[in-house]
């Protein structure tokens, strides 16, 4: 039976009818048609589906949709400004060659955002820990770490 869930998505309050067995990821991609958030493993292992819930990075593939009730969700689409200006982290990823196929990028950027919101000047170790739940199969980790460092220095 469908249920109503109400939450904030990228700053805007929304209310939708959902089937209770869906994950936050399925709702974001298939019902709300925001396809920036990716599905890799669907099992919590790869981090491609990372979004922020109340500012904390979580795997949306494992997050039951009804648990977002009353919470604030940020997806990669929420980082870009209304006039299309990229978030400093996004710009830094582009400038530092941290994007190859791009599949891991939305998750990486959001894990980095959660880190920088808490620790604006992280150490390299903190950066490595923060993205340890995000796999990049194109193995550009060094560039990704540099991109996050560069963004933190701005």
């Amino acid at each position: 039976m469908k249920q109503t869930v109400q939450f904030k998505l990228n700053g805007e309050s929304i209310q939708i009818e959902v089937e209770p067995h869906l994950s936050l990821l399925q709702v974001i991609r298939e019902k709300l048609e925001l396809t920036g958030t990716k599905e890799g493993c669907g099992m919590g292992e790869c981090g491609a589906c990372t979004v922020l819930v109340d500012g904390k990075a979580i795997n949306s593939c494992l997050f039951p949709i009804l648990e977002v009730e009353g919470k604030s969700v940020t997806t990669i689409e929420g980082l870009i400004e209304a006039d299309g200006t990229l978030h400093p982290l996004q710009r830094s990823f582009v400038e530092n060659g941290a994007v190859q196929c791009g599949f891991c990028t939305p998750g990486m950027v959001l894990s980095a955002k959660a880190l920088l919101d808490q620790h604006p000047k992280p150490t390299e170790k903190q950066i490595r820990l923060a993205i340890s739940g995000n796999l990049c199969r194109c193995t550009g980790y060094i560039q990704i770490i540099r991109a996050i460092q560069a963004a933190s220095e701005q």
Binding site: Q3, I58, N59, P64, E67
Partner: protein
Amino acid sequence: MKKFDYLKPQSLEEVLSLLNQFGTKAKLIGGGTDAIVMQRQNKISPDLFISLRGIPGLDHIEGNGLLKIGAMVTHRAIEQSPLIRERFPLLSEASGLLGSVQIRNVATLGGNLCTASPSAETAPPLLVYEAEVHLISQKGERRIPLESFFLGPGETALEQKEVLKEILLQPPPPNSRGAYLKLGRRKAMDLAVVNVAVLLTLNPKTGICERARIALGAVAPTPIRVREAENIIEGNQLNDELIRKAGEMAKHTCSPISDIRASSEYRREMVGVLVEKAIRQSLT
């Protein structure tokens, strides 16, 4: 994908009455990092999940002497709690090594224990601290040692309509120090191949080890205490010979299996190495 209903009760009383009403058709869910994965892999197929998130009285970390940790406290909250880092550092470390930031932000301490994986990250530290678990059902409440909570892989002393409410930790005796070591195949995001916790109480004057607690994970059907190894060092001044003997004893007491992550021979060998190493680290 198989469908399920999802209920979000507002109180523990309501949870207990829902469990009574739906019986085996329902399954509790905390952070869901085990439950949702098991549901996807068809290892469980409940008609209904009963969520424990947001229920008052399950997410506290409090207490001056006896420390009480609510079952719904996340590993991230444990990792970041100054109180736990200071008083129960081995637990703090273990929670900090579980999964990734994303997993730790939602996965709970109660869920880790109730899944009862032989490699459960937090089990060896909680066993050396001699933790107790507080269980509640409509029939009443009970408190049992964590050691008797684990019955087998995925099996606990929880009755079908019972909920784990909190985990209780008595402060260890003064002059206690320990170490937690996790051997994985990579640095992050891996279950333990072997995990070991050691807690020693040393007499500051004589240097004698007055009390020793050693626990192992991933090398028996449940996480275990190894009293045979504890007995070797308790009451003694520690030297290389005794430390080696304790490692040997732990190695021979456990009963590891071979699986995709390691062979039983390798696990057994590593128990010896890690127990020795953890004892030495506790001494420094």
